[in-house]
């Protein structure tokens, strides 16, 4: 009772940390019972915690004893599984060294215990209160969509893609894709096979996706063989019926980042990873494969229109891109945890 009273006297300081490829974004919200009092964002050119960042965070956390630090889990060993049943978990993934969280008794997100420990150790100077999975952000950000018809939802970060296929709030398939890790594994090495000149040349004459040799994974997909049949106008018209008009209006208001060389490389890589994951979804017998028509992208970095074009032209998907401020979304999750 007394604790609640004291708690009401203080502002709640919510510190949200998102580690990107070469920098760390810190977003801080000061909240009272009535709402957000102030918000501050700063980015630091470090992947660890340095003195400037520590000073910035402490300048706010010292204002209130009720300060909460949250971070977006950047573990490569994370993912989501479409069941909460303990008996079936091992069917999808070995979770013996993982921490997991069940959502709505339908699906779980998991991450490596070692990575959680590493995060807590790395930020021991400020302490850590919440560690959120990008899949939590995914389901929360698209909460107005995931409870509807089948669709693929992706959170795009600097280094990672968190991809989930939902239908009526049920997760069917999920993958967390590490761009750097997968770039090595991928047969397509942009640095080796596609030279800078080639890219510039391609950019000038528009990319003919049929010429791009990224379809190795697709060879396994029998279902994609049928896609060629969809080239007729009638079939495409049928697709258009399934388009999300509301989302198109929403998307029209947002301006996508201009395409440049760096974006081209990365977006192409993202496209490859997404395509590979879709292939996995269709081919892997563990998952109940259904035909994906819509793909919703929560863009946390500012992807170029190329990604959308690739997906639309190569995979015949309706692509909707929403910009997402990952640190703000992280803050939303923290507030939901705190019941604010």
């Amino acid at each position: 009772m007394l604790g609640k009273f004291f708690e009401s006297l203080y502002l709640k300081v919510i510190v949200n940390i998102v580690v990107e490829r070469s920098r760390t974004v810190v977003y801080i919200e000061l909240c009272s019972k009535k709402g957000v009092v102030s918000a501050h964002q700063e980015s630091f050119e470090t992947l660890d915690i340095n003195s400037t960042m520590l000073e910035f965070i402490r300048s706010y956390t010292n204002e209130s004893p009720f300060s909460y630090i949250s971070i977006l889990d950047s573990s490569a060993e994370q993912g989501a599984i479409p069941t909460c049943s303990k008996n079936r978990l091992s069917y999808y993934h070995d979770l013996s060294a993982c921490e997991y969280k069940c959502f709505d008794e339908k699906w779980i997100t998991y991450t490596s215990k070692t990575d959680l420990y590493t995060i807590e150790k790395r930020y021991k100077e400020i302490g850590m209160d919440f560690i959120f999975s990008p899949f939590s952000i995914l389901s929360n950000f698209f909460k107005d969509k995931v409870n509807g018809a089948l669709g693929m939802y992706i959170v795009v970060q600097d280094n990672y893609l968190s991809l989930g296929i939902f239908e009526n709030s049920e997760l069917l398939f999920a993958e967390h894709l590490d761009m750097e890790h997968n770039a090595d594994r991928d047969e397509i090495s942009l640095s080796d096979e596609i030279t800078q000149d080639d890219i510039e040349l391609d950019m000038d004459k528009e990319i003919d996706l049929d010429d791009v040799e990224v379809l190795d994974d697709m060879e396994d997909l029998d279902s994609f063989g049928d896609i060629e049949d969809l080239d007729s106008i009638e079939e495409i018209a049928e697709f258009s019926e399934n388009q999300d008009i509301e989302e198109e209006f929403y998307e029209a208001e947002e301006v996508l980042a201009e395409s440049d060389e760096a974006h081209f490389n990365e977006d192409y890589q993202r496209f490859s990873l997404i395509k590979s994951s879709v292939g996995n979804f269709y081919s892997d017998k563990k998952y109940e494969s259904q035909f994906i028509e819509n793909i919703y992208i929560a863009d946390g970095i500012g992807v170029s229109p190329d990604l959308k074009h690739y997906l639309e032209e190569e995979m015949f998907l309706n692509v909707y891109i929403r910009h997402v401020d990952l640190s703000a979304e992280l803050c939303e999750l923290s507030k939901m945890e705190l019941g604010l």
């Binding site: 203080y10 004893p65 969280k101």
Partner: protein
Amino acid sequence: MKYSYIKPRAKSVFTQEIQLILSFFTMTLVMLFLTYAFLLYKNYAFASDKKETLQERMALEISLEEMKEKIVFIEKQKMLSERVYTQNSVLKDSIANLFDLVPTRITLSKAQLLENGLILYGITPNKDVYNFMLQAPLRSIFHRTYSSFYPAQNGWLRFVSTNYLDKTEEESIDEN
């Protein structure tokens, strides 16, 4: 914990600054209570002392009254003693005067002092000596004088002289 992998750390309002402020206030309160307790004790001690002092004062007042009474009594005794002394002096002088009055030819055998009178027994050669040499001065002193004679064996006369002072005159003398 709906979304997070870890539980938030327990938060307490008692930060180091708050602890410092609280300890400061606690010390201040303790000092205030100690001062208050000290003042209460001193107040109690003062009230107790006051009560004792009042009792002593009352005892002293009672004793003063007794002493005043004693003083009055002693003053009265002193006055009485002075009076007695004066009266004795007067009596002594009177007796001395009385014996001075007695001529050498008359011999007193007994003198009896009364409260308001004097009775003399003695022997005189004759009545004339008595009348002229003793009775005349006695009459000047006393208001009433009575004399009676009877003969002695050697031819002299034994006499009894009874002299009285009137009371009214005596009182007026006392008042003076």
